[in-house]
Point group: C2
Chain length 391, copies 2
C-alpha cells in the first residue's frame, strides 16, 4: 500500500426532512451572508428552495441567489457568481442541487477569494483557499458532496477539466434521499453509472496488496447492483435511495481509494463526450467503461476476473481466467442496459467522425502531455481505439 | 435507514516513517505546548518516542511527558495527567501508543478543560470541549485513532465505562503499519479480534434495508479474515499490517455503522471480564462473541446466515437456514482459535464463581437500568447465561 493522507472533514447530515435544518448548519460553520446557488426549475417547483430559505430566515442569515447551473456546468456562470459574491460580500456558498451545482459552487468559492482567473485551478493549481461551502444534495451521483473535486467546462473551446484541493471539501452536506425520489429514471440511472464509475476508477490499480480498499469497493458495487434496480422499478423506494445515496458519498470521498494508484482515463475519455455532445456524464461513463475494460483487460486479467467473481457472481474459469474476466464485463454491459443506460455512440448521440478530435483533446488538451490513465497508460491512438469500441 | 449525522474530521497520515512528521501536524492543528502520553517501555525501547520528540523539537514545540498507561487504562493516571496539563499550561495532547493510551489521552484532554470530575463524561455526559488530540498509533485494534470514543476503568470498584462525543475525535492520527510489526503475536491477534468485534457490534441490527453498511462491514470482515493469518505467520508482512490498520480505522469511525441500530452488549459483557481479570480486551471479545451469537441467533436467523454465507463462504442451507447460521458461528470460533485467541473462561483466566457478580454489574453498574444490547435486549439472567456458554 502506498503512503497517503486522508482528510474528509465534511459534516454529513443524512435523512428525511434534514434540509429544513440548513440554516442551523450554515450558522455552525460560520456563514452570515450566503450565496444560494442552484440549477433549473425543479428545486424551485418542488418547494425545496423555499424550505432552505425558510431555514436561513429562521437563523437570521441573509442571502443572495444565483440559479441557472446547467449539467456540465460552465465557466460563464462561475464568473458571474464570483462577481456577485464580491459585490455582495458573501462569506458562504450554499449549493442546492446535484454535482453540477456543487461543482459550480466550488469554483465560485475558490474564485471569489483568488486574485487571478479561477480557471488556473482547473489547469492544475491545488485549491487551498476558498469560501466555506455547504450542500443540499438532490441526486446521488457525482459524490461532490464529500469530495475535494470539481469539474467545470470552459466555454471557449468547450474544455471540460477538473480541479481539486482541500478547500473544496464542503463544511457540511445534507443528504435527504427523499429529495431524489422525483428524479426521472434516466437521471437516476445516470447517477448510478457515475457512482459505479468512481468505484471502477479506483478498483483498477497497479498497486499490489490492497485488500481492504478492494473489499470496500466491491461492497459498494454490490450495493449499487442490488439497490439500483429497485429504484428503477419503484422511484419512491426511500430505503433503496438511501443506500445508493450513502454509497455515492463513500464511492468518492476517497476512503476506498487511498494508498493505491487509480486510473481515471475513463473519466477523461467521457469528459470529451459530454463536452462535445452535452450528454449526461453518467450516461457517457456507461458507454465508456465496458469499452475501456475490454481494451485494457490484458494488463491484469486476474483483477478483472476477481471483479467478475466477487461482484458479478461469475463462476471462476480456472482453466481460462480471461473468459471469467470477459463475463464480468458483459455482466456490467447488461446491467447498464437493464437500468436504461445507452450502450454505444449512437444511443449516446455521439459521432464517429469526431473520434480523432476527441482522442487528441483527451490526451493533449489543456496542458496534457500525450498519455492518460494510471492503470493502463493510454496514447491518443489507444483512446481513439477505445472510442471505436463504442460504435 | 435511520436519519443520522456523520462527522469524522480527523486528518489521517498513513504509511512508512510518517511519525517523523508528527511535529508538523501538531503545529498545523494549533499545538504549542504538548503532553506526550504513552504506556510502557516499548515506545521508548523502539526509539519511537525519540523520533516523535525530534519532530517536535524540529518545529520548536515544547512538551512534557507522562508515561505509564496500562492496558485497560485507569482513572488514577488520568487525574495525574489533568493536574500536569493544568500546571504546565498544556494546549495539545499527543498520544503515542495503542487504544489504551489514546483513550487515556482523550480523558485527560476533556478533564483538563472541565470544572467537574472527568468521570462525569463516563457516566453519560457528552464530550463537547476537550484539548485537541493527536495520535501516533502503535497497534491496529481499538479504532480510537478515528473514533469519538474512550473507555476508562475507575479504580474504585473497577468499573470500566465508555464516554463519547465530538471533542474526542483526534485532530490528526499517524498510522504507520511498520510500527505494529514488533508486536507479540498475541497482541496482534487480540487487535484483530477487537476490530472484528467493532464490525459485529454494528452488523447485528434490527434496522431493515441497510445494504450499504452491511456490504461495507462484510468487506472489512473479509479483509480481516484474509490478512490476519498472514501477519500471524509473518509479523513483518507490512502489506497485511497496512490492510489491517486501515480496516481497523474504518471499522470504528462509524462510516459503516451509520443509520442503523447497533448492539454493543458484547462489549459491555467483555468490559466486566477485562475489569475483573485485566485480560486483553480483544482476547475477551474473542471469547464473548461466539457465545453471544449462539445465545441470540434465534432473534434473526437469516442475518446470521447472511454473515455465514457472505463472509465465511458457507453454503446456504435453504431447507434449514439455522444450520448455516451455526456454521458461521463455528467458523468464527475456529478462526479465533487459529490466530491464537482463547476460546473459553479457563483459557482467558476467568472464573465461574464471578458470573453472577459480573452479570449484575454489566446490567446495573454505573447507572444502568437492567438491560443491555440494541439487537437483543439482555437481562441480567441472559448475560449470566451467555457467560455460562463460555465455560
Amino acid at each position: 500500500m502506498n503512503n497517503f493522507t486522508f482528510y474528509s472533514p465534511t459534516y454529513f447530515v443524512f435523512g428525511k426532512d434534514q434540509e429544513c435544518e440548513t440554516g442551523k448548519y450554515v450558522k455552525r460553520f460560520g456563514g452570515s451572508k450566503v450565496l444560494i446557488h442552484y440549477g433549473g426549475g425543479s428545486v424551485v417547483r418542488s418547494g425545496l428552495l423555499d424550505r432552505v430559505k425558510a431555514s436561513l430566515d429562521k437563523e437570521g442569515i441573509s442571502y443572495v441567489e444565483l440559479g441557472g447551473v446547467q449539467p456540465n456546468p460552465r465557466s460563464g456562470l462561475v464568473y458571474e457568481g464570483i462577481d456577485l459574491c464580491r459585490k455582495e460580500g458573501v462569506d458562504f456558498i450554499l449549493a442546492v442541487g446535484g454535482g453540477s451545482t456543487i461543482d459550480s459552487s466550488k469554483a465560485i468559492a475558490a474564485g471569489t477569494v483568488y486574485d487571478g482567473d479561477f480557471w488556473d485551478y482547473y489547469m492544475g493549481k491545488p485549491v487551498v483557499d476558498a469560501l466555506p461551502i455547504g450542500t443540499v444534495l438532490t441526486i446521488a451521483a457525482a459524490g461532490s458532496e464529500g469530495s475535494p473535486d470539481s469539474v467545470i467546462t470552459k466555454e471557449e473551446g468547450m474544455f471540460k477539466r477538473g480541479a481539486s484541493g482541500e478547500g473544496f471539501r464542503p463544511k457540511f452536506s445534507i443528504l435527504n434521499p427523499a429529495l431524489t425520489q422525483t428524479l426521472p429514471a434516466f437521471q437516476t440511472a445516470a447517477g448510478v453509472a457515475d457512482i459505479m464509475a468512481h468505484l471502477f476508477e479506483r478498483y483498477f490499480t497497479t498497486t499490489k496488496d490492497v485488500e481492504v480498499t478492494d473489499r470496500v469497493i466491491e461492497g459498494l458495487l454490490l450495493t449499487m447492483i442490488n439497490e439500483a434496480p429497485k429504484v428503477i422499478a419503484n422511484p419512491n423506494d426511500y430505503e433503496a435511495r438511501a443506500n445508493i445515496m450513502w454509497a455515492g458519498m463513500m464511492a468518492h470521498n476517497n476512503c476506498c481509494g487511498v494508498g493505491r494508484a487509480q486510473d481515471w482515463a475513463s473519466h477523461d475519455i467521457e469528459h470529451e463526450l459530454s463536452a462535445v455532445y452535452d450528454c449526461a456524464h453518467g450516461a457517457g461513463l456507461a458507454v465508456v467503461f465496458p469499452a475501456w475494460m475490454t481494451y485494457n483487460m490484458h494488463h491484469d486479467v486476474m483483477r478483472f476476473a476477481q471483479l467478475a467473481v466477487r461482484v458479478w457472481g461469475c463462476q471462476m474459469d480456472f482453466a481460462n481466467p480471461e473468459k471469467t474476466a470477459k463475463a464480468g464485463i458483459e455482466a456490467l454491459r447488461r446491467f447498464f442496459k437493464s437500468i436504461g443506460m445507452p450502450g454505444n455512440f449512437e444511443e449516446l448521440g455521439a459521432k464517429e467522425e469526431d473520434i480523432e478530435m476527441m482522442a487528441h483533446t483527451a490526451c493533449y488538451g489543456n496542458g496534457r502531455t500525450g498519455h492518460i490513465g494510471g492503470f493502463a497508460s493510454l496514447s491518443e491512438e489507444d483512446v481513439a481505439n477505445i472510442y471505436r469500441l463504442m460504435l
